[in-house]
Amino acid sequence: MSGWQQEFIRNFSIIAHIDHGKSTLADRFIQLCGGLEEREMQAQVLDSMDLERERGITIKAQSVALNFRARDGRTYRLNMIDTPGHVDFSYEVSRSLTACEGALLVVDVSQGVQAQTVANCYTAAELNLEILPVLNKIDLPAADPERAIREIEDIIGIHARDAIRASAKTGVGVPEILEAIVARIPPPRGDAEAPLKALIIDSWFDNYLGTVSLVRVIDGRLAPRDKIRLMATARDYAVEQIGIFTPKRKQVDVLSAGEVGYIVAGIKDVRSARVGDTITHAHRPAPTALAGFKEIKPRVFAGLYPVESSDYDAFRDALEKLSLNDASLQYEPETSQALGFGFRCGFLGMLHMEIIQERLEREYGLNLITTAPTVVYEVATNKGDVLRIENPAKLPEPNHIAEIREPIIRATILVPQEYVGGVIGLCVEKRGIQKDMLYHGRQAMLTYELPLNEVVLDFFDRLKSVSRGYASLDYDFLEFRASDVCKLDVLINGDKVDALSVIVHRQQTDYRGRELVKKLRELIPRQMFDVAIQAAIGSKIIARETVKALRKNVTAKCYGGDITRKRKLLERQKEGKKRMKQLGSVEIPQEAFLAVLKVDNTK
């Protein structure tokens, strides 16, 4: 019982842009290696969450252990480790890649190289992974393999002349890919006799098993009943079960250096088994942990409130359940004068936020109001404290503030040349500082430092629109940097609505204030009275709009006839109002709280 010999193991990931065919290719591998019977091949096995499948992206990393009989007549264990496919999850990507010796770079030959792919490839290259380029979708009429090859060579900087041409859809070239994995990706070179070092690639919560962690054993051996220690928290656990996914879960007796599998060890929640942490033996600990472990911090925050205050408990339970499986989701109770009791939730980014929101509404049937997302600001007070402000309404009075620092990201944007002008214009508008601009054939690669706040607002949508959908973006957090920002408040009929406050750059206050009240005027329906909407900085009103009162709401005819129909009409009207929040005598629809996101910046 010594597990697989390392020379027969190949660990690899697939790097691909959304829709470039990663999942289809993975399915083909599983099929070719006999991982599942034909009838078990549910389309795209790897993306298991419904939402993931709908959006074509992967949120949780998964892995499949495949047995591949190569042309040399020998059987190899191929561990395919899935990587999350979105900028919000770049840390997770780097941990998945760390667990591999090689990666397939899959490029859709009808579309070429995208920023996401570039960023992940750079990460893979930094980790010294062997990168095998694969030109996918060569069966498409729009396929331009020569262009894709040039782009891979120019932008990513690896040889692509001998890239494998394949079509995951038809199966062409797929066996060649598997052969290349065996031939070109080096086997792991761990020391099975050394003290145990296993990397946590991902953790999730299973209702029957508790916390399950996907691990890559670097050195040593892992077996059931071992006493293990998680090095980041220095807590010890007893291993209950280890195994692999074929993709079906299958218990094994040992996971040796070089192998990938799962571990169940009575760990209470996913927060205790953090991605990137090192597992070692309690009785014979490794002297040092694996490098690269980071505490992941949410960067984007929003207030989430149940529309019906009676849903509060159900909402809290739902957040608790979701966070069981999502260590990066943070939530803390918060009270808003306007919206009542809710939670301030922290997310890795906008996509993460959208996914959580959607799951809360879809899986838990909650009707929620979300406030505009905001980033974390560091506020240095006159007293010398540094506060982390996750909610604009909590920004201290200006006279207590020495300095406000906002998060800055380094953004890499890949865009066809003809759209470079538009992208630069957008970055300038978003207070970006250009750091680099390189041309690679048809494509340009722009590097900008951008305030995350601006990116959170509507950057993705705008980027897509100025580039007709061709630009792609990747980013990393850089630093907190002093900035002249201030709080923009919104008053409705003279009352400040805390949930509508936003933090904006001083140069943009007039413009944003004006646009925000204009948008609110469109979103707030006419009601019995005029509704005055004002934007204010401190006590200074900078913009005002009025939603004029409705003329009337009357049923013209009502005689002795069918009363149930009139009643239904009134009940429908009332139902419509239920989805609105009553602020004083004013009814505000849920969308209004996200108005700041919908402000049209195309002047």
């Binding site: 006419r526 009357v554 009502c558 002795g560 009332k574």
Partner: protein, 386 residues
Amino acid sequence: MPIEPPPLSLYIHLPWCVRKCPYCDFNSHAAEDEVPERRYVEAVLRDLALDAPLAEGRTVETLFLGGGTPSLFSPESVARLLDGVRALVPLASGAEITLEANPGTVELGRFRGFRDAGVNRLSIGVQSFDDDKLKALGRIHGRAEALAAAGAARTAGFDNFNLDLMYGLPGQSVEQARVDIVTAIALQPTHISAYQLTLEPNTLFHQHPPTLPDDDVIGAMQDVLVDELQRRGYRQYEVSAYAQDGHQCRHNRNYWEFGDYLGIGAGAHGKLSRAEGVMRVAKARHPDAFLRTAGTAAARASIRFPSRSDLIFEFMLNALRLHDGFPAALFSQRTGLGLRDIEVPLRAARGKGLLTLDADVIRPTALGRRFLNDLVALFLPSDQSQ
């Protein structure tokens, strides 16, 4: 508290029209061949014979022949119908007997015949005096017929008649709406009903909506209408109803005061207060179904006994339509409930400035009249206790 027997009215539905108008959501059917007048009159009388005991000996104060287009029926049929009614239920000596007439189906002789049959009030559905607008509404008559109908009514001896008008018509300007109302006033009806055109579900207009004037234009039209009507002696007493002194429609007023009524004929609805509470009856909707079942219990397509909370809503839905409100005591008389049963919504409505309660009169405010749906919605069953 037992409900005192309220005044009793009788509604008789005559469901056929020459053709169906695209805005109409009433139970009306295009008459394909000959309207089966004789069979229908007999069926109606059988239906009334079945319901008559529900009147519990009360006198019928008002009778309304509605439709559809009742004026499609011959004066002879109407005479037979009214004679039959008199034989089945006690009709008050001064009873208001109204018949709905469509200008496209009238001639002087017919009106005289209706008069002789005992009809003493006409309601003429002119809708507009503008040929283009009438066309847009799918009406079978034009301006000339509309004017002629009013003249014929008067010549036939109907001093008491109503003109139905609509405003907010496709492409209508405020001035056009004003001309319509002034034209109507010049014909000196005792009563004018001015309805805003609304797109009702299950109508052609709902499926293919015409472009209607915007809210503000319609609001302005209403202001102009009310102004013209008030100045010429037509006082508004309900959302869409205006009358000269002493000529409010007693039949409709009985609905709004939550009185009782027998509903006879295809799809007719009746409401009766009985010892055990209020009962609502609806008749088989389709003319064929009604003809088949009239006189048997099967003609009663539904019988409903509204709960206390239903009753509160239904009372308010009607009574709050009255421009000057109603005596608080009427609520108890009609529902058997006390004001304390509506304390919560009453307080909410007063708080929002939608109604007043003083000198024992509950009255919608000007704001309440403009936002009557919002006011009435406060009395929806789910809201009463919140």
